[in-house]
């Protein structure tokens, strides 16, 4: 295969790829056509988790369900629903799990408080350790004359060996 053919293929592929992308985004745009509504849709769907691909929000996910839910949010925006009403609609159906920022309540306490509790525990252990070390260092008194004599004797013994 010569270089020219390769270049032709690359150009063709990139052209084809970009037209495909344009085609899909125009169908999405045709559904909204309203920049304000689209902005709200974007903001809302970034707050909501896609249940099919659990680590993506429904703005990023291309799963069928995410597309359906975006369509649903669009309809609700068109019907003049508030953001809270839309979020509530999702929570009623899919639970707090759809929220990337779940509310603080009994069952989510460990989730919200866990990291803080671990940090406090770490600080506590650090403080205790440092205090002990300081008190141990304070106990290190210089040797008495008697002890110094014994130490000298032991060192000398070693030297003579």
């Amino acid at each position: 295969m010569n270089v020219r053919a390769l270049i032709a293929i690359v150009i063709f592929a990139s052209f084809f790829g970009s037209t495909a992308a344009v085609a899909s985004s125009t169908t999405e745009a045709a559904l909204a056509a309203d920049p304000v509504a689209e902005k709200r849709l974007q903001a809302l769907s970034e707050e909501l988790r896609c249940l099919v691909c659990q680590n993506q929000n429904i703005a990023d996910s291309n799963a069928e369900l995410a597309q359906d839910l975006r369509r649903e949010i669009r309809t609700m925006i068109r019907d003049g629903k508030s953001d809270k009403e839309i979020i509530d609609f999702m929570v009623v159906r899919y639970g707090d799990f759809v929220l990337y920022r779940p509310p603080v309540k009994g069952i989510t306490l460990l989730l919200w408080g866990g990291p803080l509790a671990l940090m406090l525990l770490g600080l506590l252990i650090l403080v205790r350790y440092l205090r002990r070390r300081v008190s141990r260092m304070a106990e290190d008194k210089p040797l008495s004359a008697d002890e110094a004599g014994r130490a000298d004797a032991l060192l000398k013994e070693l030297d003579t060996r």
Binding site: L51, V52, Q54, E64, D68, R93, Y94, G95, F97
Partner: protein, 194 residues
């Protein structure tokens, strides 16, 4: 020495927490619908397309709502269990066919008319039940998945147990296994039918 026990204890606690966390099934999201009335719907019946059906047509009955589609591979896995169940147990199972055509992924929906989609969906659903057996009292067709959203469907198959008052008592996501049926669904049905 004492200090090392502390560290060891902390490490063991962390391991225990992670072990529990990793042992959980991330797909097993608790449904907020349990304990709430089954959302109303009014959908066309597969066998009699000119008629419609909704939860209101099951007053005073304990029943199962099973969400399925012919493109759903796990549905095929659980299907024999449902067929067996329908033969042995006197609890009606209603099928909710979820996005039969547009959920398949093999069709260009931009090019298909609503009429064609409906026709194809009924045809495919009927063919699938003819091939694998029909455990359902009836099946309703949720072509666009709108009812599925009301039921919080996110992974077909899903099964709901609905009590005599029309309240959802249990939701199972994923295929029903003999274990789930024997240990969770059957005891609940027995209790509800008391």
């Amino acid at each position: 020495m004492n200090r090392y026990y502390w560290i060891l204890g902390g490490f063991a606690a962390l391991v225990a927490l992670l072990a529990i966390g990793l042992g959980l099934n991330p797909r097993d999201v608790p449904s907020p619908l349990v304990g709430k009335p089954a959302p109303a719907f009014n959908l066309n019946v597969l066998a009699t397309p000119d008629k419609s059906f909704g939860p209101k047509d099951m007053p005073g009955k304990v029943w199962l709502l099973n969400v399925w589609a012919s493109w759903c591979v796990s549905c095929r896995a659980e299907h024999p269990i449902l067929v067996e169940f329908s033969k042995k147990v006197d609890v009606p199972v209603i099928g909710l066919n979820y996005k039969e055509v547009r959920g398949d992924g093999g069709f260009d929906m931009g090019k298909m008319s609503a009429e064609d989609e409906k026709k194809l969906a009924f045809q495919r659903a009927n063919a699938w039940l003819a091939q694998h057996g029909d455990p359902y009292k009836l099946t309703v067709m949720d072509l666009d998945g709108r009812v599925g959203i009301d039921y919080g469907v996110y992974g077909v198959p899903e099964t709901y147990v609905i009590d005599k008052a029309g309240v959802i008592r249990m939701k199972h996501t994923g295929p029903i296994t003999p274990d789930v049926l024997g240990k969770k669904i059957m005891p609940l049905l027995a209790e509800l039918n008391k």
